[in-house]
Every structure is written in structure tokens, then in C-alpha cells.
């Protein structure tokens, strides 16, 4: 938070943030090692609470991808993917900012405004046919998310306000906005018993389930999964196959050098935050249109926060993000079975996720090892 009022010049991002993009050049050993250490520490916690860690982890894995029958295994795996889909969008949101040297902690808020926009448009124009309503809802979510992301981008570019602070604050603004809209605001559905929610979106806005129910009963694997894959490809193409992506990455490497080369870092800052917000916004829409069909108050368990871990674990690359999101999806779905089978709170999964994030991103393992080597030399 060094450059809150550093004036018109966009201050260079913290050295460490830029380095995060490189830290995986050493290969996948460190994320895997960090995951192993995190699971080990998690096992200690489970054992300390008087439960069997091995039994818990077996239940976790079988809950995520396994099952007594092929159908059940297919169902569990598809649920793991369903859980990974929103994380893919929010993690791309975080990663695209990372690559430009910005720290977008605001994916949660951007996802929420996207979901709310999709929910509002999808319900208000529910009678429209799918080919019209589908792009309308997704587009509304993308626009809302982009606008919500552009705010911290503009504040950073022209007012020097640190994006970490503004995005954290905007998350909470979005959360309270959601409470108002769904509890006693214009979007509140009269029938909302229990959890406050908006009205159901029109059929035309619903992303269809991909697997036929006689093949995999109850599967919720929806067409939003394909949008997530498209977003990953789009992220790769934007960053590594377009001149804009080149410019963004050069701003991430060195804003000063980029400015020397005639790239205006300010406009790029606003643009990249708008892109980041737009992707997260689509993620919110996909969760509503593919899984929930209406916006429930507090529907997000923190997709935007887990996204930071997913993006860092996946070294802000498309393939890495896909793998890390699947891992977190597996944790999320498998954790439920672990709780019922092994009486181990599913919250241990958050502990393990946080440990992975801490070990990986704080480069704890790497730095301790490096420190040892240095001391010995």
C-alpha cells in the first residue's frame, strides 16, 4: 500500500507480485510439494481432533471422483467439475490482473454484480427466446462486472489508489448491495422462504445440463463448463497471441519500460481491470444460469477469494488454472462426504486450501529451502 497517493504516475507494482508470474518456471515440483505439506498439516489437525486422517482423506477422494458404482463416480466427478467452473472464471480474473502487475482481490464483488445482473435481466425479460435472452444475460453480467472492475482500475490509474484496498472495499459494497437487492430491494422475490432470493430466470437464460439424466442421474454438469473452457482459451489467446496481451504483460514486467515503448500504463490498467471484472461477472452469471436459476443471498462461498489461491497455484496460466480449479472443486465436493463419512468438518478443506496458498504464494517452502542453501554456502 505504498502508492496510495503517488500522484499521476502509476507506481510500479510490488516486486514480489511481478515475480509470482515467474516462480513456477522451476516446474510443477513446488506446487505439488506444497500440496503434500498442506495435506500433511491437515492430517495433523484431523488426528489432533481424534479422527482418522487416512479415513478422512479416502472419503475426500472417493467423494470427489469415486463411488460404489460407475454412475455414482461419474456423478461425483461431474459435481467436482461443477464446483470448479466458477473458480475458473474468478481465477482468470485474478490471473489476468496478475500478469499486468495488478492484484485483483475484487473478483468476489465482480462475480456478485455479474450474478445479480444476470439474475435481474434473466427474470425481467424471462419471456424472451433463448437465442436472445442467453447473450443478453451473459452480456449484462459481463458489462456489470467490467464496470465494477474498471472502478478500481481508474482509481489506480488516475488517483493512485491501491487496487488491493479498493477491491477489498468494493467486495463488501457488492455484498451489502446483494443483501439489499435480495432481502427487501427491487429484486426480492415474494416467495423467498428461508434464504432470500430473486425471481427465477426465464427458461431461455438457463444453461442446459450436458449429461443425459439416464446416463448420469441428477448430474448438474451444465453448458457453462464449455464457456469456462472457452474463457481459458480466450485468456491464453488474449495474453499470448494478441498485441494487447503483449502490452499488458509488458506493463506487468516493467511499467516504466512499457511507458518508454509508448504503452500508456494508465489505460492498460483500466482496461485489464475491466477485462478481469468482466470475466468474473460472467462467472457469476454462469453459476446462476447453470446451477441456481435464481440469485440466492450469499450464494457464493467465496469463489472470488479462493480464486486468488487457484490463480497462484495455477501460476496464472490457463492449464494451471484449470488443474487448480479442479483440485479445489474436488476439495469442495469431496469435503461434504468426508464430513458425513469420517465425522471430520468439511472446513478442514479451507484449512488445507489456505495452507496451499500460503506455502505456494508466500513461497514459504521455496524460501526456507533457499535460505538453508544460502546459509550453507
Amino acid at each position: 500500500m505504498t502508492d496510495v497517493t503517488s500522484g499521476p504516475e502509476v507506481a510500479p507494482p510490488a516486486r514480489s507480485v511481478r515475480q509470482l508470474g515467474y516462480q513456477w518456471t522451476a516446474g510443477p515440483a513446488m506446487p505439488l510439494l506444497s500440496l503434500a505439506v498442506a495435506l500433511l498439516i491437515g492430517a495433523v489437525f484431523i488426528a489432533a481432533s481424534g479422527r482418522d486422517p487416512l479415513r478422512a482423506y479416502v472419503a475426500l477422494v472417493s467423494g470427489a471422483v469415486g463411488g460404489a458404482t460407475v454412475q455414482l463416480a461419474a456423478y461425483n466427478t461431474s459435481e467436482t467439475i461443477v464446483g470448479a467452473v466458477p473458480l475458473v472464471f474468478t481465477a482468470i480474473s485474478v490471473a489476468v490482473a496478475f500478469r499486468t502487475g495488478l492484484f485483483n482481490i475484487g473478483a468476489e464483488g465482480q462475480l456478485l454484480v455479474g450474478a445479480l445482473s444476470a439474475g435481474a435481466v434473466g427474470a425481467a425479460f424471462g419471456g424472451l427466446p433463448g437465442p436472445v435472452l442467453m447473450p443478453l444475460t451473459l452480456g449484462a453480467a459481463a458489462l456489470a462486472g467490467a464496470a465494477y472492475g474498471a472502478i478500481p482500475g481508474a482509481l489506480k490509474a488516475w488517483r493512485g489508489a491501491h487496487e488491493v484496498i479498493t477491491t477489498i472495499m468494493l467486495n463488501y459494497v457488492a455484498i451489502f448491495l446483494m443483501h439489499w437487492l435480495l432481502q427487501n430491494g427491487p429484486m426480492t422475490a415474494p416467495s423467498a422462504a428461508g434464504t432470500p432470493a430473486s425471481a427465477k430466470i426465464g427458461d431461455g437464460a438457463i444453461l442446459p445440463v450436458l449429461l443425459p439424466s439416464d446416463l448420469v442421474p441428477l448430474s448438474r454438469l451444465h453448458a457453462g463448463t464449455l464457456i469456462a473452457i472457452a474463457a481459458l482459451v480466450g485468456f491464453w489467446a488474449l495474453m499470448w497471441r494478441t498485441s494487447l496481451g503483449y502490452e499488458l504483460r509488458s506493463v506487468g514486467f516493467s511499467p516504466r519500460a512499457a511507458a518508454q515503448a509508448g504503452i500508456d500504463p494508465k489505460l492498460r490498467t483500466v482496461l485489464v481491470m475491466a477485462i478481469a471484472g468482466g470475466v468474473a461477472g460472467i462467472g457469476g452469471a454462469v453459476q446462476i444460469q447453470g446451477v441456481l436459476y435464481r440469485v440466492f443471498d450469499g450464494f457464493s462461498p467465496g469463489y472470488g477469494f479462493d480464486a486468488i489461491a487457484v490463480a497462484l497455484l495455477g501460476k496464472s496460466s490457463p492449464v494451471g488454472i484449470a488443474l487448480a480449479a479442479l483440485l479445489f472443486g474436488a476439495f469442495g465436493h469431496g469435503g461434504a462426504l468426508m464430513q458425513s463419512e469420517a465425522q471430520v468438518s468439511a472446513h478442514i478443506v479451507s484449512v488445507i486450501e489456505a495452507l496451499v496458498l500460503f506455502l505456494v504464494a508466500a513461497e514459504l517452502v521455496a524460501r526456507i529451502v533457499a535460505g538453508r542453501r544460502k546459509a550453507r554456502a
Partner: protein, 309 residues
């Protein structure tokens, strides 16, 4: 809308009650960031304080012992952040976010493992309220400040204390020097690392007390995510108060007032949830320089490395 509803003694008493946890967190933030270490783990530290204070109180039967256990747990989490930020020079934002997620997961996990679905014990001992005796008789004032938790008064005392230490003592000057220009401070023989460790750990003590206050004194129990963003509002109060203890306290009072208002306006048709956005919107305006100029310490968030290492 009645003016009594907004400025009545009950409303102001509630303001004090709700501002106290924000004040603890904000003061912690001020101390840590004045030394040059960003601590956005305040939220997680508060959660640790909140859970372990309840657990400690339930185990020992004494709320003071519980408070100490809560502080100890918060300090353990803070020490991890300090080690990562100062020693390993990790990214302080990432470390803080990771610890927030860790604390939320860990306290929720322990809450389930230890108390299951029944929740924390109902007959939890509390800390004493401060009976001001004759002051109670003073109209209005008595209604505001009498019978407040001892921790509310501790928060007020700490505002004065931290202000005096930061701006009127040599140690405070050194701490600020470390946060403004660590190289210069180092040249003058100040141990930058020791100073920063002390400051970050102190911020952990304060945030943990703020969390313990929420569980022991406000809700008399622990529920998952009991802090629900108050650590971040504390951070906002710190920024809004321009990294000064008194400014942070005034901001905490302002945010606490808004919070109290959401309670008293419930059911009046006013969209109270929108009031909840105020601390965050004001902070965004503040860091954007659109409201008042704020200036963080120059070396805030920048890891220090001694030369020739």
C-alpha cells in the same frame, strides 16, 4: 424519523459498543503499517481471538484466562505473518489473505469438531462491565458510557496510549522511522527487523482482543465467521484515519455509528443494508484522494533487506 432514534443515549452507547472491535483492529493496523508491514490478516487474527477466547473461557471457567488464550492464539497466527513478511520477504498481501482463509477454516473446523451442531457453551462467563457509580446519574452521558464492557474502556485507553507511544516516545519515533525509511533507520543503529516483529506482533495482540470482545462480550458465543469483515472495516478505519490512532478511532466511531443505525432503523422501511456500504465507500473515496488526502507510511508493505547479505 425521530432524532432520538439517531442521537439518543442508547444509540450512542451502541455506537461505542460497535466501534470497540473496529478500534482494536484499526489500532493494530496503525502500529503494524507504521512499521512498514501491511497486515490484512487482521480479520483472521480477530477470528482466532474470538474462537480461542470462548474456548479458553469454557475450559478455564474464567473470562480473563480465556481472553489471554484468545490473544495467544491470535499472536501465533500473527507470528506466521510476521515471519513470512519480514524474514522471508514474502508478498504481504498474499500472506495476509492466506491467513484470513486459514483462520476462517481453522476456527470453523474446530468449532465443529469441539462443539458440533450444538454450538459453544451457553453459560459462558463474561468480562465485567464498568460501573461508573455516580456518573450513572448524569442524564444522557450516564446512559451512553455507564455499564460498558471493560474492553470498551480498554479500547479508548489504547487509543490514547498508542498515540502517546507513537508520537511522544523514542521507541515510537524509531518505529515510524522504520516504516518511513528503513535504510536510514538501520544506518542510525535501529534494528529494523526487531522493530517490525514487535509492531506486527503487537497488532496481533490488539486484533485478537477485538475478536475476543466480539465473542465474549457481544454475542457470548462463537459462531463461524463471527467477525464478518470487521477486520477489514478496521483496516478501512485505519486508512480513513490516515494511519493515526486518534483518526482511526474517530473513523471507527463513525463506522460504529452507522452500524448502530442499521440496527435501530430495522423495520422502518429504510434500506439498512445500503448503510452498511458506507464505511467501504468512504474508504474508497479516501484512498482515491476524493475526500481528504491520506498518506500511508512510505515503506509500507516493502520488505527490508540489509545491505551485503
Amino acid at each position: 424519523m425521530e432524532i432520538g432514534l439517531i442521537l439518543g443515549a442508547g444509540q450512542l452507547a451502541a455506537t461505542l459498543r460497535l466501534a470497540a472491535p473496529l478500534t482494536f483492529a484499526a489500532l493494530g493496523g496503525v502500529i503494524s503499517e507504521r512499521s512498514g508491514v501491511v497486515n490484512i490478516a487482521l480479520e483472521g487474527i480477530m477470528l482466532m481471538g474470538a474462537f480461542f477466547a470462548v474456548w479458553g473461557t469454557a475450559v478455564t471457567g474464567n473470562a480473563w484466562a480465556g481472553l489471554l488464550i484468545g490473544i495467544a492464539a491470535g499472536v501465533v497466527l500473527t507470528a506466521v505473518h510476521a515471519y513470512a513478511a519480514i524474514h522471508l520477504r514474502s508478498d504481504q498481501i498474499v500472506s495476509g489473505m492466506a491467513l484470513n482463509i486459514l483462520a476462517l477454516g481453522l476456527t470453523s473446523f474446530l468449532n465443529f469438531q469441539l462443539y458440533g451442531f450444538t454450538g459453544t457453551p451457553a453459560d459462558l462467563a463474561g468480562l465485567p462491565d464498568v460501573d461508573l457509580g455516580p456518573v450513572r446519574g448524569i442524564p444522557y452521558v450516564g446512559g451512553v458510557i455507564d455499564d460498558q464492557s471493560v474492553l470498551v474502556w480498554l479500547a479508548v485507553a489504547l487509543v490514547v496510549g498508542v498515540h502517546l507511544v507513537l508520537f511522544r516516545t523514542v521507541a515510537g519515533m524509531r518505529l515510524r522511522a522504520v516504516g518511513e525509511h528503513p535504510r536510514a533507520a538501520d544506518t542510525l543503529g535501529i534494528d529494523v527487523f526487531k522493530m517490525r516483529y514487535a509492531a506486527v506482533l503487537a497488532s496481533g495482540v490488539l486484533a485478537a482482543i477485538g475478536g475476543a470482545y466480539l465473542s465474549l462480550e457481544v454475542s457470548h458465543s462463537f459462531t463461524n465467521n463471527i467477525t464478518s469483515g470487521r477486520g477489514f472495516i478496521g483496516l478501512a478505519a485505519m486508512i480513513f484515519g490516515n494511519w493515526t490512532p486518534v483518526g482511526a478511532f474517530i473513523a471507527a466511531l463513525l463506522f460504529g455509528f452507522g452500524d448502530a443505525l442499521t440496527f435501530s432503523l430495522q423495520g422502518t422501511g429504510v434500506p439498512v443494508q445500503l448503510l452498511g456500504t458506507l464505511p467501504y465507500l468512504l474508504t474508497i473515496l479516501a484512498v482515491g484522494g476524493l475526500l481528504a488526502r491520506t498518506r500511508p507510511p512510505a515503506a509500507d508493505g516493502v520488505p527490508y533487506e540489509t545491505e551485503g547479505r
